[in-house]
Subunit: 563 residues, 2 copies
C-alpha cells in the first residue's frame, strides 16, 4: 500500500493534545491559524504521497554512488527534491526576510514527518539544510546570512554538518581538523571528516559545509573549537557558485540502510572557509544546528514508524489465513500497540516543537527549558519507537517481511540509523539526566506538575486511566529526586531506562488528553494497560546504579568465563 | 574480533544450572559423561571458530544463486560443510544403529549453538537435516530408515522441510499440494512450496524433501495431510543418487539476511515420493521435525546473540573516547544486560533440551510435558533475545555499526528471520497459552513449583534475589490461573507478553541457581534488578485481554482517523 499522510491524526494532536492553537495568539505566529495548518498539512501530504514516496524503493535498490569523484544520486531523487524545494517546503520555519515562511517549527516538523515517511534517505537532505539555516540565522554574520540563507531556503543549495572524525565520534572535543587565518578575513580548513550525510549532492548546485575545526590558538577539548562555512563552490561576486573549493569526497559508506543518502568521508585540504559565530565558540553554534536536527530525527523515527505501520495494517487486512490476519488477536495486538506508540511518540515530538515555538514567541525561559528537556526524549524515544514499530511491521508480514520485495525490511534498515546519528540515544539519555537536570530538576518537575494536573482534570471522565497515570507520575517524580542526589556516572548507568520511563509517562499523559478531548478512548486504554506499565521496570533499572555494572568481570562480558 | 566458542559458560550451564549430569545416570545416556561433554564442546568450538566462522561474511556478500536452474552456494560453504559433516557433527544425537552418536540433544544443541554463532546461513542446512533425521527415526518405515538415515547422518545428503505454500503460511491446513498413489507403493506429488530453506544444495550430493501433501481422499484441514519423502535424485538399487526426480527450484528469495542460505520456491511436478508415517497423519510426523527445529531455532537466537555480543564487547574494549567505551556506564549497561539475557536464554534452551533427553531416557510423561512446555518459550524468547542483543551490539558500535563492513549489521539482519521461521513467535506464544496449557496448567504449575523451590533454597545465601524471584513466580502463577479461566481469543491477545513474562521469571531462576552454584553473582543481581522487573508489565499486558483490541477502529490503526 502507498503511504497516506495521516493529516487528520497530526492535526488532532496539534489542535487538541499539544496546544498548537496557543501559538496563533502570539504576535510572532499570528499567521499560524487552523486554516493555514490544514492547508499546509494537506498540501505536504499530497507531495509526500504522490512525488516523494515513489522514489523510496529506487533509492534502496540503486544507492548513491561516486563516479570519478562525482556524486550520482539515486534514480528520481533530483526530480523529487526539486518538487520539494520549489514547493517552498524547506523554508517553512525560516526567516521571511530571506525567503522563509516564518511559520512555527511544530508545523515544519509535521511536514518533515510526512516527507520522512515517504523517503527517509532523501528527506535527510532538506532536514540538515534546515539545521544549517537555523545555525546561520542565530550565529551567522549579516554577510553570510545574505549570501547563503536565500539559496538554502530555496533549496538551490544544500547544507551539511561536519563534526565526526575517525577518532572523535561522540567525543567531539577530540577532533583534529585545523583551521588557519588566511589574513583576508577568511580561513583555511584542513582535515578529514567521516559520516557526512549528503556530503555531496547532484540535486543541488552547491553544497555548504558547516565544519568544526580548531584554530592554532584554540585550546584542547570542545572549548577551543570554531565553526566555519566551507562551500563546495566558492560563491562569486554575483552570489553564484564559482571556483571549486579545496575539498573532496574520498568515499561513500556501504550501509545497512538509507542507501539513497550518500554518507561521505570528506577531505578538506586547505579549503576556504568563513567563520560562523565567534572564534573558539563553534560548539554553541553547532549545538543550535544539532538541537534542531535532534528533534527532526525524533520526528524521522515517528515518520518511519507511521509508514511501516500503515503498510503492515494494509498487509494484515489483505492477508487471509482463516480470515484476514488483522482480526487475529495477536496480530491485532501488534498493530494496536504500535499505533498507540506512534501516537505517543508523535505527541512528544510535537509538544517539544510547540515548546520551542512558544519560547521563541514569548522569550520566556520556562518554554526554553521545556523544549530543552523534551528534545532528548523526543529524539531517543521517537527513534526507539521507529525501530520497534518497523520491527513489529516486519513480524506482521511473517516470511514476506523478510523478503526485500515487500519493502517492510527497508523501513527497518532505514530507520535503524536514527537511534545512532545526531548523538546516539545513549548520548541523548545522558544529556537528559546530566545537562537537563542541571537546573536542580526544575524543568522535569514543571513537566511532572503538568502531567499530574492533567490526571486530576481527567479524574471524573476517566478515573481508572487518570489514577494509573497519577501513580506513575508520582513514582517518576520520586525517582527523579533520587537521581538528582547521585553523581554523574551513577546517573548515567540508568539514563536510558530513565528516559524511556519519562517518555512512557508522557505518552500516557497525551493519550489521556486525547481520550478526554474527542480522540480514541480504546487507544488510550490500550496504551495505559499495555505500554505505560513498562515505566516501572524502566525505573527499577534506572535506580539500579553503577555498582553491579562495575562489579562484573570483563571476562564474563566476553563469555570467556563460567557464569 | 573472531568468535570464540564460550565453552566454559556452556559447560557451566549444563553442569550447574540445568542438571545435565542427571542424564549420565540414565541407561540411555550413560556415555554422556562430563569428560565426553568437555571433549565435544572443545572440538566443536574449534571447528566453529577456525573453519565455519571464516565463511560467514562471504556468504553475506556473495549470496547463494541459481545458474541455469542449478544452485551455486556461497564461496567456501562447500568446504566448511564438508568439515562439519565429516567431523560427525550432524549425527551427535542420532541413532547409533545408523551411524549417529546417540548422545543427548542437550549436547547436540550446545554444538549447534557454536556452529550457528559461526555462520547461521550455513548451519541451517545441518539443523534441518537433523530435524529430518528425527522425523524418520520416529515415523519412517524400516526401509526408508535404512536407505536415508545413514546418508543424512553422514551429511552426504541433506534434508528439507516443505510446509509453506503461498496461500498457506501459518495456516498449514489450507495447503493444496496433492499426492496420488502410484500403485507401486510410491506416490506422485504435485504442487508449489515456498520459503524452502536449502531447497537445493551443491554442498551435498542429494537433497531429501519431506513434503506435506493431500491425498485424493484426504479430508480438509490439517487432519487430511500426509507426509512424503521426495528426494531430488531417486536412490538407485545400490542406494546412490540415481535419476533426477520431477521437481525443481523455481527461484530464490532476495532476503534481508542469511544470504548464504538459499530460500527456494519449489515446484513438485508429479515427483516420486514415499510415505512417511501413516496416510492422512502427516502432521504428527511433521511436528516431530518441527519441534526439534523449534528448539534448534531458539538456540540459533542465542548463538547469534553470543557472536554479536562478543564482537561488541571487543569493539568497546578497543574504541577509545576519553577511555575505552567499555568503561562508559551506558555502554557497559548495554553489554552487561545483553550478557545477562544471553545467559538466561541459553539456560532456558538447555533446560528444554535436558527435559527432552530425560523424557526419552526415562519415558516419564512429566519430562515430556516439561519439554513440550519449554519448547515455545525456548524458541520465541531465544530468538527475541537474539534480535535484541544483535540490535544492541549495533548500537554499541555507533556509526560503525551501521556500516556493513564491521559485520555488526549482518548479525542483526541474519538473526531477524529466527523470530519468523519454524512458526512465528506469535504462533509459539499461542501454542504456549493454548495447547501447552491444555493440561489444565499442570506443566506450568510443575515448573513454577520448581522455581519456588529454587527461591526457597536460595533464601539464606541470597535473600534479596530469592524474595524478588519468589514474588515474581507467585504473580506469574496467579496470572496463569487467570488465563486458564479465559477463552482462547482472549488468551491469545496476551499470549506474547505472557510467554515473555514466563521467560524472564525462568531466566531469573537459572541466574539464581548460577549465583548460588559458583557463577557470577553480579550477573544474577543485574538480571534480577534490570531484566526481571519487566515481567510485571508483561503480565499486565497478558491480562489486558481482547476487548480494547476489538474496540479499536481499523481506521485508527491505519492512521486515517483523528485520535
Amino acid at each position: 500500500m502507498a503511504y497516506q499522510a495521516p493529516v487528520e491524526q497530526i492535526a488532532f494532536i496539534l489542535n487538541r493534545v499539544v496546544s498548537f492553537p496557543d501559538l496563533s495568539v502570539t504576535q510572532r505566529f499570528a499567521e499560524a491559524t487552523a486554516e493555514t495548518m490544514a492547508a499546509i498539512l494537506t498540501e505536504a501530504g499530497k507531495l509526500a504521497t504522490e512525488v516523494i514516496a515513489p522514489v523510496n524503493r529506487a533509492g534502496d535498490l540503486t544507492p548513491a554512488r561516486l563516479e570519478n569523484g562525482k556524486l550520482r544520486s539515486s534514480p528520481g531523487y533530483a526530480e523529487a527534491f526539486r518538487a520539494l524545494a520549489e514547493g517552498g517546503w524547506i523554508g517553512i520555519a525560516a526567516d521571511p526576510e530571506y525567503g522563509g515562511m516564518g511559520l512555527p517549527q511544530a508545523l515544519n516538523m509535521a511536514v518533515n514527518e510526512m516527507l520522512a515517511s515517504a523517503c527517509l534517505a532523501l528527506q535527510l537532505n532538506p532536514l540538515l539544510t534546515q539545521g544549517q539555516i537555523e545555525a546561520l540565522e542565530h550565529h551567522g554574520s549579516d554577510e553570510l546570512k545574505a549570501l547563503y540563507l536565500p539559496k538554502l531556503i530555496s533549496g538551490e543549495w544544500s547544507g551539511t554538518m561536519n563534526l565526526t572524525e575517525p577518532q572523535a565520534g561522540s567525543d567531539v572535543g577530540a577532533l583534529t581538523t585545523r583551521a588557519e587565518r588566511a589574513g583576508d578575513g577568511s580561513y583555511r580548513v584542513t582535515g578529514q571528516k567521516i559520516f557526512i550525510t549528503w556530503g555531496d549532492s547532484d540535486v543541488t548546485e552547491n553544497v555548504c559545509h558547516l565544519v568544526l575545526a580548531r584554530l592554532p590558538d584554540g585550546g584542547p577539548g570542545t572549548r577551543g573549537i570554531s565553526l566555519f562555512m566551507v562551500p563546495k563552490f566558492i560563491p562569486d561576486e554575483s552570489g553564484k557558485p564559482g571556483v571549486a573549493n579545496d575539498l573532496r569526497v574520498v568515499s561513500l559508506e556501504h550501509k545497512l540502510g538509507i542507501h539513497g543518502s550518500p554518507t561521505c568521508v570528506m577531505s578538506f585540504e586547505g579549503a576556504k572557509g568563513w567563520l560562523v559565530g565567534e572564534e573558539h565558540k563553534g560548539m554553541a553554534a553547532m549545538f543550535t544546528m544539532m538541537n534542531a536536527a535532534r528533534l527532526g530525527v525524533g520526528v524521522q523515527g515517528v515518520a518511519q514508524a507511521e509508514a511501516a505501520l500503515q503498510q503492515a495494517v494494509a498487509y494484515a487486512a489483505e492477508r487471509v489465513q482463516a480470515g484476514p490476519i488483522l482480526r487475529h488477536p495477536d496480530v491485532r495486538r501488534m498493530l494496536a500497540e504500535s499505533r498507540a506508540e506512534v501516537f505517543a511518540a508523535r505527541a512528544i515530538c510535537m509538544a517539544c516543537a510547540v515548546a520551542l515555538d512558544m519560547s521563541r514567541a514569548t522569550g520566556l525561559d520556562e518554554w526554553a527549558a521545556r523544549a530543552a528537556f523534551l528534545t532528548p526524549i523526543a529524539k531517543a524515544h521517537g527513534t526507539d519507537v521507529g525501530i520497534r514499530v518497523a520491527d513489529t511491521a516486519v513480524q506482521v508480514h511473517g516470511g514476506m517481511g523478510y523478503v526485500e520485495e515487500t519493502g517492510a525490511a527497508q523501513y527497518l534498515r532505514d530507520v535503524r540509523i536514527t537511534a545512532i546519528y545526531e548523538g546516539t540515544n545513549g548520548i541523548q539519555a545522558m544529556d537528559l539526566v546530566g545537562r537537563k537536570l542541571a537546573d536542580g530538576g526544575a524543568a522535569a518537575m514543571a513537566l511532572l506538575d503538568e502531567i499530574l494536573d492533567g490526571a486530576k482534570a481527567a479524574q471524573s471522565a476517566e478515573p481508572d486511566l487518570a489514577n494509573q497515570l497519577w501513580q506513575a507520575a508520582e513514582t517518576l517524580r520520586e525517582t527523579t529526586q533520587e537521581l538528582l542526589d547521585r553523581d554523574m556516572p551513577d546517573r548515567f548507568a540508568g539514563a536510558v531506562p530513565y528516559l524511556s520511563a519519562f517518555a512512557r509517562v508522557l505518552g500516557a499523559h497525551y493519550h489521556l488528553r486525547a481520550a478526554t478531548g474527542g480522540g480514541s478512548k480504546a487507544l488510550a486504554r490500550l496504551y495505559i494497560a499495555r505500554i505505560l506499565p513498562q515505566f516501572a521496570a524502566d525505573l527499577a533499572a534506572a535506580r539500579a546504579g553503577l555498582a553491579d555494572l562495575e562489579a562484573l568481570d570483563d571476562a564474563v562480558l566476553l563469555g570467556q568465563m563460567a557464569g
